[in-house]
């Protein structure tokens, strides 16, 4: 964003998207759900940030929080700062965020069959998305734009498919249509929430390629939410690993993959099936189940599942680890009580050989 910084003459150049101390909680009948705790991260234009974690780790809630979609839920409480293109979104008015939503920032949802309206044609839904941000534009022009977008995401015979309903599309085509809908207003920030989860593998690769191509074309910032580490390795420049609503490891994708620091990240890597290694008897899954966000374990939220929890006195059971420099140089950060040397030693000696 050299042009905007030059025109504003700002002393501090913010990243295109900067999230600071984002905390999202829901007050429910069962108690307070601490869905996201003090998340801080940023994405530049043209860059891709991968957010990884199990179901319920706060990935999707974070992205919905950026779009301001928790505003319609009266029980949600969002604090912190979200800066998009030098505008703060949490304190902004509903109307202002609404105008950004679908315009400057857009989202691709998982499972497009349920994410698209069953009673409206795919084309009319894209037209609607376009016209809401281009008021006064004729339906005809919007229709041409929508057909153009459908063609651009690789849907054959877009004029004909324009009038079809979501259920008449195949899974891959439906996700393409969803992407066309998200991209119709040239968003500068694109959030993809598990865009390939419901698709078969060959189609997954096509969709990922498509997102990458479109990103290069539009120069957008992309947040890729997934539980599939392969997707992250493929696309992401930076990676966040989330657990129990907190970021527990973050850094450049290469660093995180080559030298993961958090035992949970080791676990994730260990549960990934690989073809290029000898077939072992079984994968090594992360033992146990994800924690309840209403009642997080004391200390490190991961300690009940962590094989190394007792190695550093009682701190894992009492103190919440802070996300800080992993001591490897660069941007790599981790939230773990283990000392850096010991982490490296365990990884090299115990984890790596089994990956």
């Amino acid at each position: 964003m050299s042009t905007s910084s030059a025109s504003i003459g700002a002393s501090i150049q913010r990243p295109y998207l900067e999230v600071k101390d984002l905390t999202i909680r829901f007050e429910t009948d069962d108690g307070i759900v601490q869905a996201v705790s003090s998340s801080t991260f940023s994405v530049e234009k043209g860059q891709t940030l991968g957010i990884v974690g199990e179901s319920g780790s706060g990935k999707s809630v974070t992205s919905l929080g950026i779009l301001g979609l928790h505003r319609t839920r009266s029980n949600a409480k969002v604090t912190g700062e979200i800066w998009l293109d030098d505008e703060e979104l949490i304190t902004a008015s509903d109307e202002k965020v609404r105008l950004l939503r679908g315009g400057k920032m857009a989202m691709i949802f998982q499972d497009p069959l349920s994410a698209m309206h069953p009673y409206f044609t795919v084309g009319s839904q894209i037209v609607e998305a376009y016209r809401v941000h281009h008021p006064g534009l004729s339906k005809k022009v919007a229709r041409e734009k929508a057909i153009d977008m459908l063609a651009r995401v690789g849907i054959p015979q877009p004029e004909r498919r324009f009038n079809d309903y979501a259920h008449q599309f195949s899974g891959g085509m439906r996700q393409r249509a969803m992407i066309a809908m998200a991209l119709v207003n040239d968003p500068q920030l694109l959030i993809a929430d598990e865009p390939t989860t419901a698709l078969d593998v060959t189609v997954q690769a096509q969709i990922l390629d498509l997102i990458r191509d479109l990103q290069e074309e539009f120069g957008s910032a992309v947040i890729m939410i997934t539980h599939d580490l392969g997707v992250v390795a493929e696309l992401a420049d930076d990676v966040l690993v989330m657990y129990g609503g907190k970021i527990i490891e973050k850094g450049p994708a290469l660093d995180v993959f080559q030298n993961p620091q958090h035992p949970y990240t080791w676990g994730l890597l260990g549960s990934m099936p690989r073809l290029d290694r000898a077939v072992r008897d079984r994968l090594t899954p992360v033992k146990g189940t994800p924690p309840s966000l209403i009642n997080l374990p004391d200390g490190c939220a991961f300690h009940p599942r962590c094989p190394y929890a007792g190695r550093n006195g009682n701190r894992s059971f009492t103190d919440v680890p802070v996300l800080r420099d992993a001591g490897l140089g660069g941007e790599h950060q981790v939230a773990c009580h283990l000392p850096a040397e010991e982490r490296t030693k365990i990884f090299q000696q115990e984890v790596l050989p089994n990956l």
Binding site: A115, P118, Y119, H133
Partner: protein, 333 residues
């Protein structure tokens, strides 16, 4: 589409045939089981045996049931003659026979009663849909609020209170107490639309209250379910105004299931709103059904039953066809 339509029409005709068969069968068996004689009902208990036998021959009551049923069907389609030697009475199509007590043709009686029932059903239907949907949607949007709880309590009352209670209450308040409204009466719409409406407003409201309650609860539940759907989140993520999200995306799928219920409710009401018509003394199909039952008048009961079945079948057909239009996932064929 045309093939589907034809198939459905044939289906409807067959259903109606089955209904005639069953009802005719029941009404043939009832006198046998209770030991009463239709001929006696027709002519009166004091008649001499020769006259009774004459009537029996004239009505064809000595024929086997199959023949009687066949003549009954033929009467509906082509008309029939009742004859006892030189004594011939022609009943032109569609013929549903004669009432036992008053010896009138059943068909004209019911046709005359039909506009009353239709007026009652349509007016009430418009009211209850408007009220039910409006209150249901607002309740869903303000779930858990005082408004929501209030509406749902009233709705519960509406579902629980019977027509003869709410109807009499309305009568005693608005007609006899405050004297705001005239007593319910039917004026044909084309004679005087204003009198038509004022004369029916009380039965409409009473009947609509009962249904609006159900519809409000139904709408609320549907809307709550719909608003939790992923595509509503997508609509918001597109940056649509909340009004569009609810009014277009939400209502479109929230109200679709109501179409089925609505069709069947209207169909059932067109067969006669017995209680409402009785309370407000309107002589629609329901009134004649009641008369028929009271006086053991088999032809009348048979006629009203056929009318009711006809409306249900027709409304069912309309709903099914409509679904092909409003829900693109339903493919007709």
């Amino acid at each position: 589409m045309l093939a589907y339509l034809i198939r459905r029409l044939i289906n409807a005709v067959v259903t109606l045939l089955v209904v005639t068969l069953v009802t005719f069968g029941v009404f043939f068996l009832v006198p046998k089981a209770t030991g009463s004689d239709p001929a006696l009902l027709y002519i009166g208990k004091q008649a001499d045996p020769i006259a009774v036998e004459g009537i029996r021959t004239k009505l064809g009551l000595n024929d086997p049931i199959i023949v009687q049923y066949w003549k009954f069907l033929k009467g509906i389609v082509a008309g029939r003659d009742y004859s006892n030697g030189p004594d011939i009475t022609h009943c032109s199509a569609p013929c549903l026979g004669y009432t036992f007590k008053t010896n009138q043709e059943v068909w004209p009686i019911l046709i005359k009663a039909l506009p009353i029932t239709i007026s009652l059903a349509i007016g009430a239907a418009v009211l209850w849909v408007l009220m039910g949907v409006l209150f249901g949607v607002i309740s869903a949007l303000r779930r858990g609020s005082i408004w929501d709880r209030g509406v749902m309590t009233v709705a519960l009352a509406g579902v629980s209170l019977p027509i003869y209670f709410t109807g009499l209450l309305a009568l005693s308040i608005f007609v006899y107490g405050l004297e705001w409204l005239p007593n319910a009466e039917y004026t044909p719409f084309f004679d005087n639309p204003i009198k038509w409406a004022t004369g029916l407003i009380l039965p409409w409201v009473t009947l609509a209250f009962l249904f609006a309650a159900t519809y409000a609860r139904l709408t609320r539940a549907n809307m709550l379910e719909t608003l939790g759907e992923d595509y509503i989140r997508t609509a918001r993520a597109k940056g649509l105004k909340e009004r569009t999200v609810i009014g277009k995306h939400g209502l479109r799928s929230g109200l679709t299931p109501l179409v089925t219920v609505f069709g069947l409710d209207v169909g059932a009401l067109l067969g006669g709103a017995i209680l409402t018509e009785a309370v407000f003394n309107l002589r629609g199909l329901g009134y004649w059904a009641l008369q028929g039952i009271r006086q053991n008048d088999l032809p009348t009961i048979l006629g009203v039953t056929l009318f009711a079945a006809f409306f249900i079948v027709i409304m069912n057909l309309i709903v099914d066809l409509l679904y092909g239009v409003i829900d693109p996932r339903v493919r007709l064929g």
